[in-house]
Amino acid sequence: MIQAPELPLWAALIVGVFVLLGALITLVGTIGLIRLGSFYERVHPPTLGPTLGTLCILVASITCFSVLQSRPVVHEILIAIFVTLTTPVTLMLLARAALYRDRRAGTGEVPKD
Protein backbone atom coordinates (compact mmCIF):
# COMPACT_ATOMS: atom_id res chain seq x y z
CA MET A 1 0.00 0.00 0.00
CA ILE A 2 2.17 2.84 -1.32
CA GLN A 3 0.34 6.03 -0.54
CA ALA A 4 1.53 9.32 0.91
CA PRO A 5 0.54 13.00 0.84
CA GLU A 6 2.27 15.36 -1.60
CA LEU A 7 4.85 17.18 0.50
CA PRO A 8 8.01 19.10 -0.44
CA LEU A 9 11.26 17.25 0.16
CA TRP A 10 12.28 18.92 3.43
CA ALA A 11 8.85 18.30 4.99
CA ALA A 12 8.83 14.69 3.74
CA LEU A 13 12.24 14.09 5.35
CA ILE A 14 11.14 15.60 8.69
CA VAL A 15 7.87 13.65 8.72
CA GLY A 16 9.49 10.35 7.70
CA VAL A 17 12.33 10.58 10.23
CA PHE A 18 10.04 11.49 13.11
CA VAL A 19 7.46 8.81 12.28
CA LEU A 20 10.15 6.11 12.10
CA LEU A 21 11.83 7.35 15.29
CA GLY A 22 8.55 7.37 17.21
CA ALA A 23 7.65 3.86 16.06
CA LEU A 24 11.08 2.52 17.00
CA ILE A 25 10.98 4.09 20.48
CA THR A 26 7.52 2.60 21.03
CA LEU A 27 8.81 -0.81 19.95
CA VAL A 28 11.72 -0.54 22.42
CA GLY A 29 9.23 0.20 25.22
CA THR A 30 7.03 -2.78 24.42
CA ILE A 31 10.03 -5.14 24.03
CA GLY A 32 10.98 -4.09 27.56
CA LEU A 33 7.48 -5.17 28.58
CA ILE A 34 8.29 -8.70 27.37
CA ARG A 35 11.89 -9.05 28.50
CA LEU A 36 11.97 -7.70 32.05
CA GLY A 37 11.53 -10.12 34.91
CA SER A 38 9.20 -8.94 37.66
CA PHE A 39 6.11 -6.75 37.59
CA TYR A 40 7.83 -3.85 39.35
CA GLU A 41 10.49 -3.72 36.62
CA ARG A 42 7.87 -4.05 33.90
CA VAL A 43 5.98 -0.97 35.14
CA HIS A 44 8.66 1.38 33.78
CA PRO A 45 8.95 0.66 30.02
CA PRO A 46 5.34 1.48 29.02
CA THR A 47 5.67 4.88 30.70
CA LEU A 48 8.94 5.85 29.01
CA GLY A 49 8.74 4.31 25.54
CA PRO A 50 5.26 5.06 24.23
CA THR A 51 5.18 8.57 25.75
CA LEU A 52 8.32 9.64 23.88
CA GLY A 53 7.13 7.78 20.77
CA THR A 54 3.81 9.63 20.93
CA LEU A 55 5.60 12.97 21.09
CA CYS A 56 7.73 12.11 18.03
CA ILE A 57 4.76 10.94 15.93
CA LEU A 58 2.76 14.02 16.95
CA VAL A 59 5.61 16.30 15.81
CA ALA A 60 5.51 14.50 12.45
CA SER A 61 1.71 14.88 12.28
CA ILE A 62 1.85 18.60 13.12
CA THR A 63 4.49 19.17 10.41
CA CYS A 64 2.52 17.18 7.83
CA PHE A 65 -0.83 18.90 8.33
CA SER A 66 0.71 22.36 8.72
CA VAL A 67 2.42 22.01 5.33
CA LEU A 68 -0.64 20.41 3.70
CA GLN A 69 -3.11 23.08 4.83
CA SER A 70 -0.47 25.91 4.66
CA ARG A 71 -1.37 27.23 8.10
CA PRO A 72 -0.26 26.15 11.60
CA VAL A 73 -2.31 23.14 12.73
CA VAL A 74 -1.62 22.41 16.38
CA HIS A 75 -4.64 20.46 17.60
CA GLU A 76 -2.38 17.40 18.02
CA ILE A 77 -1.03 19.18 21.11
CA LEU A 78 -4.24 17.98 22.84
CA ILE A 79 -3.16 14.32 22.55
CA ALA A 80 0.39 15.21 23.65
CA ILE A 81 -0.80 16.99 26.80
CA PHE A 82 -3.30 14.25 27.57
CA VAL A 83 -0.89 11.32 27.17
CA THR A 84 1.90 13.07 29.07
CA LEU A 85 -0.42 13.86 31.97
CA THR A 86 -2.29 10.56 32.22
CA THR A 87 0.40 7.91 31.68
CA PRO A 88 2.24 8.50 35.00
CA VAL A 89 -1.09 8.64 36.84
CA THR A 90 -2.30 5.29 35.49
CA LEU A 91 1.01 3.55 36.06
CA MET A 92 1.27 4.89 39.63
CA LEU A 93 -2.26 3.69 40.41
CA LEU A 94 -1.44 0.28 38.91
CA ALA A 95 1.80 -0.04 40.89
CA ARG A 96 0.01 0.84 44.13
CA ALA A 97 -2.71 -1.72 43.41
CA ALA A 98 -0.08 -4.38 42.67
CA LEU A 99 1.83 -3.53 45.85
CA TYR A 100 -1.37 -3.83 47.89
CA ARG A 101 -2.23 -7.18 46.31
CA ASP A 102 1.29 -8.58 46.77
CA ARG A 103 1.46 -7.51 50.41
CA ARG A 104 -1.89 -9.12 51.12
CA ALA A 105 -0.90 -12.30 49.33
CA GLY A 106 2.43 -12.35 51.18
CA THR A 107 4.61 -13.23 48.20
CA GLY A 108 8.34 -12.78 48.59
CA GLU A 109 9.14 -10.35 45.80
CA VAL A 110 7.59 -7.19 47.25
CA PRO A 111 10.00 -4.21 47.29
CA LYS A 112 10.96 -2.83 50.69
CA ASP A 113 9.55 0.48 51.93
Partner: protein, 93 residues
Protein backbone atom coordinates in the same frame (compact mmCIF):
# COMPACT_ATOMS: atom_id res chain seq x y z
CA UNK B 1 10.80 11.08 -5.04
CA UNK B 2 9.83 12.71 -1.76
CA UNK B 3 6.51 10.90 -1.89
CA UNK B 4 8.29 7.53 -2.26
CA UNK B 5 10.55 8.23 0.75
CA UNK B 6 7.57 9.28 2.84
CA UNK B 7 5.48 6.29 1.79
CA UNK B 8 8.27 3.84 2.64
CA UNK B 9 8.92 5.50 6.02
CA UNK B 10 5.25 5.48 6.96
CA UNK B 11 4.75 1.85 5.90
CA UNK B 12 7.80 0.74 7.87
CA UNK B 13 6.57 2.68 10.89
CA UNK B 14 3.19 0.93 10.62
CA UNK B 15 4.85 -2.49 10.51
CA UNK B 16 6.98 -1.59 13.56
CA UNK B 17 3.93 -0.36 15.45
CA UNK B 18 2.16 -3.60 14.58
CA UNK B 19 5.07 -5.52 16.10
CA UNK B 20 4.82 -3.32 19.20
CA UNK B 21 1.10 -4.15 19.47
CA UNK B 22 2.04 -7.83 19.16
CA UNK B 23 4.50 -7.55 22.06
CA UNK B 24 1.86 -5.85 24.22
CA UNK B 25 -0.76 -8.47 23.25
CA UNK B 26 1.73 -11.19 24.25
CA UNK B 27 1.89 -9.66 27.73
CA UNK B 28 -1.91 -9.42 27.89
CA UNK B 29 -2.35 -13.10 26.98
CA UNK B 30 0.58 -14.47 28.93
CA UNK B 31 0.95 -12.18 31.99
CA UNK B 32 1.26 -14.23 35.14
CA UNK B 33 -1.01 -12.01 37.21
CA UNK B 34 -3.86 -9.58 36.60
CA UNK B 35 -1.75 -6.44 36.95
CA UNK B 36 0.54 -7.63 34.15
CA UNK B 37 -2.45 -7.97 31.86
CA UNK B 38 -3.66 -4.45 32.66
CA UNK B 39 -0.15 -3.12 31.98
CA UNK B 40 -0.11 -4.87 28.61
CA UNK B 41 -3.53 -3.43 27.77
CA UNK B 42 -2.24 0.07 28.54
CA UNK B 43 0.70 -0.34 26.15
CA UNK B 44 -1.63 -1.96 23.58
CA UNK B 45 -4.04 0.97 23.34
CA UNK B 46 -1.18 3.49 23.17
CA UNK B 47 0.39 1.61 20.24
CA UNK B 48 -3.00 1.35 18.53
CA UNK B 49 -3.51 5.09 18.92
CA UNK B 50 -0.10 5.73 17.31
CA UNK B 51 -1.03 3.39 14.44
CA UNK B 52 -4.18 5.45 13.80
CA UNK B 53 -2.10 8.65 13.79
CA UNK B 54 0.22 7.20 11.14
CA UNK B 55 -2.83 6.28 9.03
CA UNK B 56 -3.92 9.91 9.39
CA UNK B 57 -0.55 11.13 8.09
CA UNK B 58 -0.68 8.59 5.25
CA UNK B 59 -4.09 9.57 3.94
CA UNK B 60 -3.79 13.27 4.79
CA UNK B 61 -7.22 13.35 6.46
CA UNK B 62 -7.92 14.67 9.96
CA UNK B 63 -10.65 12.08 10.60
CA UNK B 64 -8.18 9.67 12.20
CA UNK B 65 -7.01 12.30 14.68
CA UNK B 66 -10.40 12.37 16.39
CA UNK B 67 -10.50 8.59 16.65
CA UNK B 68 -7.03 8.67 18.24
CA UNK B 69 -8.19 11.29 20.75
CA UNK B 70 -11.20 9.14 21.71
CA UNK B 71 -8.95 6.09 22.15
CA UNK B 72 -6.60 8.08 24.41
CA UNK B 73 -9.48 9.34 26.58
CA UNK B 74 -11.30 6.02 26.93
CA UNK B 75 -8.10 4.03 27.40
CA UNK B 76 -7.13 6.22 30.34
CA UNK B 77 -10.57 5.77 31.90
CA UNK B 78 -10.38 2.00 31.37
CA UNK B 79 -6.95 1.60 32.93
CA UNK B 80 -7.91 3.71 35.96
CA UNK B 81 -11.10 1.66 36.43
CA UNK B 82 -9.16 -1.62 36.20
CA UNK B 83 -6.53 -0.41 38.69
CA UNK B 84 -9.29 0.62 41.07
CA UNK B 85 -10.88 -2.79 40.65
CA UNK B 86 -7.60 -4.56 41.44
CA UNK B 87 -7.15 -2.39 44.53
CA UNK B 88 -10.64 -2.59 46.04
CA UNK B 89 -12.49 -5.38 44.30
CA UNK B 90 -15.14 -2.99 42.99
CA UNK B 91 -15.09 0.06 40.73
CA UNK B 92 -17.83 2.28 42.20
CA UNK B 93 -18.13 2.23 45.97
Amino acid sequence: MSMLILALAITMAQIILGLAMGCAAFRVLRGPRAQDRVLGLDALYLAGMLLLLTYGIQTGRTLFFEAALVIALLGFAGTVALAKFLMRGEVIE
